[in-house]
């Protein structure tokens, strides 16, 4: 059971490295009355992006920073409530200056607001004691961020659409010698509004513990496939950002989380993409501190 508890803690850390994929815990649910909280900073700064054909083109250096609260609470042993709230989200782009005469050709801009927020409930579908645990999650993406900031309306801290995602996770813990580990796979369907295309999502992760379960290392792969049933980026003017329409990617994340005490820990992550369309082509990073109230 220890490894399952650890898994739950760490999986949350992973998910926060890609906030728009936030949904937690794999097939495991929190036990009634237990909670997990995390405050973290996630950011990406990019001077290039993946185009609609998967090529890479330059862009003015643009950054998005999300400072967020993540909470997970066991309502019952089978039902877990989850919230991801980026209480401070900032998107900026650099000013451009002429390399010839130093004059500003395009001023820098930034927009600050709260960001798009997720609330979710997860229900455990497998029998207690099963080797494999299975859970379904319903996630609602609330468009609390700003989708029309800056002088031309293209600076965004949110996508401006209300989405509903259904996700299923299948997980199992195991040991390799003295190393505790787990694996998880998931699939999801994300129904998006406001002429955004719906999405099929899938992914998996493996994690292993070291230093008597104080340190966890995790590798995760996520895939988002657009169903291309919304407006194009040009029609929707949603840009090729983390908030773009018809974004697709296969990404990886490396995560490390360290328990300083039984309840308090720190985490850091690095994420990138194997291939992608219409999204920044630069790594993302996160750092966070979490509190695990068993």
């Amino acid at each position: 059971m220890e490894i399952l508890n650890n898994y739950k803690k760490l999986s949350l850390a992973i998910l926060l490295t890609i906030p728009f994929l936030a949904s937690a815990g794999g097939g495991w649910t929190k036990q009634k009355g237990t909670a997990y909280y995390k405050v973290s900073q996630w950011w990406v700064v990019a001077a290039k992006h993946y185009t609609g054909t998967g090529g890479i083109d330059p862009n003015v250096t643009t950054g998005t920073f999300n400072t967020s609260f993540y909470g997970e609470y066991g309502i019952t042993d089978r039902l877990t409530g989850i919230v991801y709230f980026p209480f401070f989200s900032r998107t900026f782009r650099n000013e451009q200056v002429s390399g010839t005469n130093g004059m500003v050709t395009s001023p820098g801009e930034a927009v600050n607001s709260i960001g798009d927020t997720d609330i979710a409930v997860k229900y455990g579908l497998s029998k207690p004691g099963s080797k494999f645990v299975f859970a379904g999650t319903l996630l609602l993406g609330l468009p609390l961020g700003k989708n029309d900031g800056g002088s031309d309306g293209s600076l965004q801290t949110g996508d401006g659409e209300f989405n509903q995602m259904v996700r299923f996770d299948l997980s199992r813990s195991f040991s390799i010698g003295k190393i505790n580990a787990y694996g998880n796979i998931y699939t999801a369907f994300n129904n998006r509004t406001n002429n955004f295309s719906d999405e099929f999502r899938a992914g998996g992760e493996v994690g292993a513990s070291f230093l008597k379960n104080k340190l966890w290392g995790i590798v995760r792969v996520d895939m988002v496939e657009s169903l291309q049933n919304g407006l194009s980026s040009a029609e929707g003017s949603s840009g090729a950002t983390i908030f773009a329409n018809n974004t697709e990617f296969i990404s990886y994340t490396y995560e490390a989380a360290y328990y300083a005490t039984d309840k308090l820990g720190f985490s850091a992550s690095y994420g990138g993409a194997f291939s992608a369309k219409l999204i920044f082509a630069s790594p993302s990073y996160s750092v966070g501190v979490f509190l695990d109230l068993k």
């Binding site: 185009t51 330059p58 920073f65 002429s98 390399g99 040009a234 003017s237 949603s238 840009g239």
Partner: protein
Amino acid sequence: MKRVASLIFILTGCIGQDVLMDEVSPVIRITNPISTMEVNTTYQFEYMFLDNVGLETQPNSIIWTTSDMSRLTIDQNGLAESLDNGEITITVFANSGELEADTSLTFEITGDPTMMADDERTGKIMTTSSYQLEGDFKLFKSGDDLIVDIASNYVADDNLPGLYVYLTNNPNSPSGGYEIGAVQVFSGAHKYTIPDVGLLDYDYLFYYCKPFKVKVGHGDIE
């Protein structure tokens, strides 16, 4: 205090500076060229001087010369007087600090009324990015309006957000250019009507992604 500053930096992400490589050769352009000039008449030539980023600027000095003063004279304000029939070449040289440019115009002096040079320019749009963008176009005057006539072989990628089209004098930057507007047509023939812009005022049809502040492609206006 340093910790607080570091925390603020992490939380806010400061706006930095990107450098746009936008240097071009200075250009002087005769904006009302003629193909023939009636003998024993005068004609006022006009010019436009563009600096090394394609912005119009006033030169420190301007020098007009003619290839044959017995056939045509021209003063330093560009006022020409035709004296005899035959081919003639005028040259204008401009200087602004270290920036220099010159251009020449050859035309025929005849007994017929003065004729303006070609009233149409053409070009081919080509992508300079990973996004598809191609097609032929021509520019011509219709009264005071300039018409940008995009041909039926035009195609632009509609995955690109915030695509705008400009007329510019710099193939790398829209600065100082004329913003025609947001691209609404992504394939096939279409036209833009632009008031009070001359046929020779700009040298590039320039496509630009505004949200990303990056060039997508352009067409030289020949």
